[in-house]
């Protein structure tokens, strides 16, 4: 399956630079994420993973370099022109970013309504179904501030997938979950990819999850890509930053 060179990558990032408050956060990041595959972005805290993810649906504009979505450079697009592209990409934010003026079911229904769905019974059915998928059946009426951190993350995941986007961006979907939930969510992400042929880009610290879902891995360090390739190849890397990261993880699991 990997031998389809003519298939357009979903995301194509070229020489991406970003500075925030005088600090260079991304210094020439290039990678591509294939359609229907899961690309995992690894890297230490502060490496620039979340900032990189925010460029993929145009929430941030590069100060240099290009971001292409399905071959189209999104840099020059206005907020209005970005709308259809953004609707095809679901996002799970690192801190959930649930709308706290709405309850759980309204949060999940939001992308459906904004996508133009008017049939209330269809919306309700989809909300139910998506909530069960993340194991939160029965919590429909709760407000985000009445949820635990892990529950919030799962509601956010449900909201991201509710409108059946073509692509999903996950920012640390398993951080802050207990091991069992973490495994469930990882399996869910793998299933979404298999069943819906979703393209996904997942930022994570969780090497176990990475090994389970990744087709392609990018290791980011201080705003630069140190490794891009097969997940297996990462383990053989001799780069010091990567070795430290992998060894620290091994220690953490002993």
């Amino acid at each position: 399956m990997d031998s389809l060179p003519d298939k357009l990558p979903f995301f194509e990032v070229e020489g991406l630079h970003q500075s925030l408050e005088g600090q260079e956060v991304l210094r020439g990041v290039s990678f591509s994420a294939a359609q229907g595959k899961t690309t995992v972005i690894l890297g230490g805290s502060g490496a620039g993973k979340s900032v990189l993810l925010r460029h993929l649906n145009g929430l941030m504009k590069p100060i240099a370099g290009t971001v292409k979505v399905m071959g189209r450079d999104i840099g020059p697009l206005s907020e209005r022109d970005l709308r259809p592209i953004r609707r095809s990409i679901g996002v799970l934010f690192q801190d959930g970013a649930l709308f706290d003026s709405m309850d759980v079911s309204e949060n999940i229904a939001f992308p459906l309504r904004e996508g133009g769905e008017r049939d209330e019974s269809a919306i309700a059915a989809r909300v139910e179904e998506t909530l069960s998928l993340v194991g939160l059946h029965g919590h429909e009426r709760k407000r985000p501030d009445a949820l635990s951190g892990g529950m919030r993350k799962r509601v956010s995941l449900a909201r991201a997938i509710a409108a059946r986007p073509d692509c999903l961006l996950y920012d640390e979907p398993t951080a802050g979950l207990d091991p069992l939930l973490s495994e469930n969510i990882t399996r869910l992400i793998a299933r979404l990819k298999d069943e819906m042929r979703l393209t996904s880009v997942m930022v994570t610290h969780n090497l176990g999850a990475m090994r389970f879902v990744a087709d392609h891995v990018i290791f980011l360090n201080h705003g630069r890509v140190l490794y891009a390739g097969e997940p297996e190849g990462l383990e053989d890397s001799t780069d010091e930053a990567i070795r430290n990261f992998l060894d620290a993880d091994a220690l953490g699991r002993e």
Binding site: L59, R86, F93
Partner: protein
């Protein structure tokens, strides 16, 4: 001084930009009527008590002071017209707007600021929703509807309180008070108050929402944005009121008082 004026100009630029975005959104995007109506409830219905109390007590205290002075001159019955003109043209719109700025300006900046720093604004954008369409325009439309009503109430309550005080406490005959009041209050006076109130409402929404949108990260940033929203919109109301008074006194002059 340089820094200060640069900051001031940058701030004006933000207000201008947001105003432009609101106009563009009104022209090009559908209006979210449900959000508008819930904002009318929050702004219009929610501000009833403060506006009524403000209007009534301002009218009463102004009537008392005016009466004491006019009585010495033997012009006790001029109290009605003076209170009425002052309430219609200045006190009603300005005080109602200051109260709404305190109540709703802070709430708007806090809501939008919190949504920004917790990435809810980014979440909106990610779902293809324009934050200005979704968060600012409903408040803008709601305040356009609410402010004239609130100002009218403040004026009305002010006059009722003034009448009560002058007639019941100071013993000016009611028909006399009423006749003077009606004879010297013109549609132009009331229109002035309503126009001012509407403009102040726009100021409150634009200033407070812009402050919220540009809130710095963290709870401190939101707190600052909230304070600034109230301070900036209150100062803007007072300054703009002065120029509006000049302009409106020219367009919609008040009647001359000939007793």
């Amino acid at each position: 001084m340089m820094n200060w004026s640069r900051g001031f100009l940058a701030q004006l630029g933000r207000f201008g930009l947001l105003s432009k975005e609101v106009l563009a959104s009104l022209l090009h995007s559908g209006i979210r009527w449900r959000a508008v109506s819930s904002q009318i409830v929050a702004i219009g219905i929610g501000s009833q008590l403060v506006v009524i109390v403000t209007g009534a007590f301002t009218g009463a205290v102004f009537a008392a002071q005016a009466y004491f002075k006019f009585k010495e001159l033997g012009l006790g019955s001029a109290t009605g017209p003076v209170v009425s003109i002052a309430m219609c043209r200045e006190l009603g719109p300005v005080l109602a707007a200051l109260m709404v700025a305190g109540r709703m300006g802070s709430a708007m900046a806090a809501e939008i600021g919190t949504m920004r720093v917790t990435q809810q604004v980014d979440a909106l954008r990610s779902f293809g929703v324009d934050p200005v369409d979704y968060l600012v325009v409903p408040k803008f439309l709601a305040i356009l509807v609410s402010m004239p009503v609130l100002v009218a109430e403040a004026i009305w309550l002010g006059m009722i309180a003034a009448e009560f005080l002058t007639v019941e406490m100071f013993g000016v005959p009611r028909p006399w008070f009423d006749a003077q009041l009606v004879a010297h209050t013109r549609v132009d006076d009331v229109a002035t108050g309503l126009i001012k109130g509407t403009i102040f409402g726009v100021i409150i929404v634009i200033v407070s929402c812009a402050r919220g949108i540009h809130a710095k990260d963290g709870a401190v940033g939101v707190g600052q944005a909230t304070t600034r929203a109230v301070v900036d919109s209150s100062l803007a109301i007072l300054v703009v009121n002065f120029f509006l008074s000049l302009l409106l006194n020219y367009w919609l002059p008040t009647s001359s008082i000939d007793l």
